[in-house]
Symmetry: C2
Subunit: 413 residues, 2 copies
Amino acid sequence: MLHNGAGRATAARMLDLLRTAGTLSRVELAEQSGLTAATITNVVRRLIDDGLVHEVGRESLQGRGQPRRLLELDPSAWYAVGIQVDRTTTTIVVVDFAGGRVASAGLRGSGTSGPEETVTTLADHVTDLLHSAQVPRDRVLGVCLVTHGPQDRERGVLLTAQPTPEWLEYPLTSTLSQRLGLPVLLENDATAAALGEQWAGTVATDTFGLIYMASGIGGGVVVDGDAYRGRASNAVEIGHVALSGGRTPCVCGNRGCAQAEAGPRTVVEQVLADEPLAERLGVRGAIDSTLADFERVARAWRAGDPAATAILERSARWVGQAAVTLVNLFDLDTVVLAGPAFVTTGPLYQRLILAELEERALSRTLSAPTVLLSTDVGTAAAIGGALHVLRTIPVDRDTLQHRSSAPAPEGEP
Amino acid sequence: MLHNGAGRATAARMLDLLRTAGTLSRVELAEQSGLTAATITNVVRRLIDDGLVHEVGRESLQGRGQPRRLLELDPSAWYAVGIQVDRTTTTIVVVDFAGGRVASAGLRGSGTSGPEETVTTLADHVTDLLHSAQVPRDRVLGVCLVTHGPQDRERGVLLTAQPTPEWLEYPLTSTLSQRLGLPVLLENDATAAALGEQWAGTVATDTFGLIYMASGIGGGVVVDGDAYRGRASNAVEIGHVALSGGRTPCVCGNRGCAQAEAGPRTVVEQVLADEPLAERLGVRGAIDSTLADFERVARAWRAGDPAATAILERSARWVGQAAVTLVNLFDLDTVVLAGPAFVTTGPLYQRLILAELEERALSRTLSAPTVLLSTDVGTAAAIGGALHVLRTIPVDRDTLQHRSSAPAPEGEP
DNA sequence: CGTCCTACTTGACCACTTTAATTAAGTGAG
DNA sequence: CTCACTTAATTAAAGTGGTCAAGTAGGACG
């Protein structure tokens, strides 16, 4: 090991900077990290020796002096897998070391299956996807399982008994890890999406909130580049913010929660309550096809259907109210929207949530609120999970040896 | 400067640990900081040389071996001043290096005076208080000004035009700093109180929320021992959480905010709406005596008055609802109550807020919620501000020289 | 074509920490 | 009573991760 400036944390920071910027010179790395050029030289040398980084030409001339040599991550150095599992949808993505999407697959959700069955299915699909994308398994750094609701990230276990009681405390990550022979992390869907947006560079600031809407509504907050996790990583449950004027009882025991008043399931049920409308839109209301039904409503809105529009606009206003609370409590000025429910409806929600923030957020006079759509609306969470793997699991000079000799570790380092 | 284990940050951490624990041995410092005994030896030696720490006997025998030598902060090494300014109350406290209260004074609030006048008054009172407590000014590390509402901590300026327009952007800390010849920090009242509670050891965890109620309602969150500050230090505006069922318009532009529905001013106004009741309690409703009036209602509750009880209980339930949102979004299980409004009503609010959390908080089944009363209900924010000074401003071997040669610096280091 | 400017590299040094002895100061069994 | 044992505190040497200052490298400009 070198004696100068080769700290593991520092190296990880350089990789992060390169991943978000795409390509940077050593000078820019020094500026952005606050370290000296000397340190950068040493750290970068090691990264190049390890095959993680390449020099890719020089910067187009900007005057006199020696031109800066541009650095870039080697995309094929490592890969990571993100799996977003929801009741009604599942998305698997494979991402290369630079964060680029290599392959992806959309499956039906976990439905009412037990965890054992789901894990087996997922493991098979991951194996297939890696194979068809010709990604060698020993170059896969790890897998991140991304789910909704309360979880124990340390132990890699869900703390919910839904959809079936066996899910509660089922050894999710360790089982999947064993099946795949790869490390498996667990992450909240909204937090994963937020981390993903950050690396994707969707937002200019490194402090923002994210609203994730799939079957339910979740929230994530990134402050100074780090996810807010709270006491036990179950923070930002924006779906259970009780809204002014709301009265609908929620599964959580409270009344008027955002999710109960405005979530996709509620939107679908409001359509179902109007039988001719439901008939017209083709909405059937099966519990496992909430998102498909929601998508039908979204398309009706796009086609100009006034009833569908009214229902969606009501939902968007409610979510906007929840966003106001999110913004007031976490002191944000930027909110990103992500998740399959926004694939079609994104612009509508974006407009109305922004309107609520501009009208009601406390800090609206101090700094104008911004609402952005994710760069990967539908797959943000899975991508974010995969990027989380790249960021979290250390890539040492000798990670490969470790990998081939010892069996795959599990969970956090 | 010594060459071994004398890091400034490390030294500050030792002081923090000693301040919260009161007295610790070197071994315990090593355990709690994760550093080795060797490092502790060096850091502690320097602290003793600088006169900040003393050895105070040995630990009562716990078996064989050499007994541990107990360490303690020298209370008289330094002092700090905390000033909590509200519209209707002002509290000044002087705290010694160990965090003990040396002197305190309660004044009327800033009322409708301009900032110039207020700063002059405060400077005079601080000077008087230091004099009467016989605290030498060159041993005062600094002052922390603690206020409600939006502020720019970096620049030491309030971002609100209340009560008079001159307050907006008035150079608050720099002016006070000049008057006193001491560094002056700015801090949010609820955050200061939360930091205070943490050093005071009120809470077992280092992750908790705090609700601060004076003329308004504010919130603070401490995560892993650090205050959550958000984008621009104006986070956790729990007074402006819109509550389920609320409709009252709030100054912030929203409806149904916790402060508008349940704040002390609203409580007083509800009493005023019932003329015979107001008469009976002696509530007059002058805008600058909100807290005095609130205190009258509180005493009526304690005396068993049913009308006063009903009004306060309604307020407490509302605040409880806001606490549910706080707890759900920040993933907390502990909430502390502080601020002058809780001096008498503390137990009532504590009981009802706990009831709301036990009924409605999302994580109630994962970990039982706790609601605690501050150890210094009325003066928590001022004490917290003073402790913030002790924690933030570095005490070097040569701070004293700097102090006497150069004029007092201003703001954060 | 040499000078100038900027990027990058090198080696000496520095602050802080750990590791491995070493010394200090007690307890309790015989 | 004293010697073996235990735990605390100190010391010196070595490791880690960086800075600083003085070089070297490579292209632009007059």
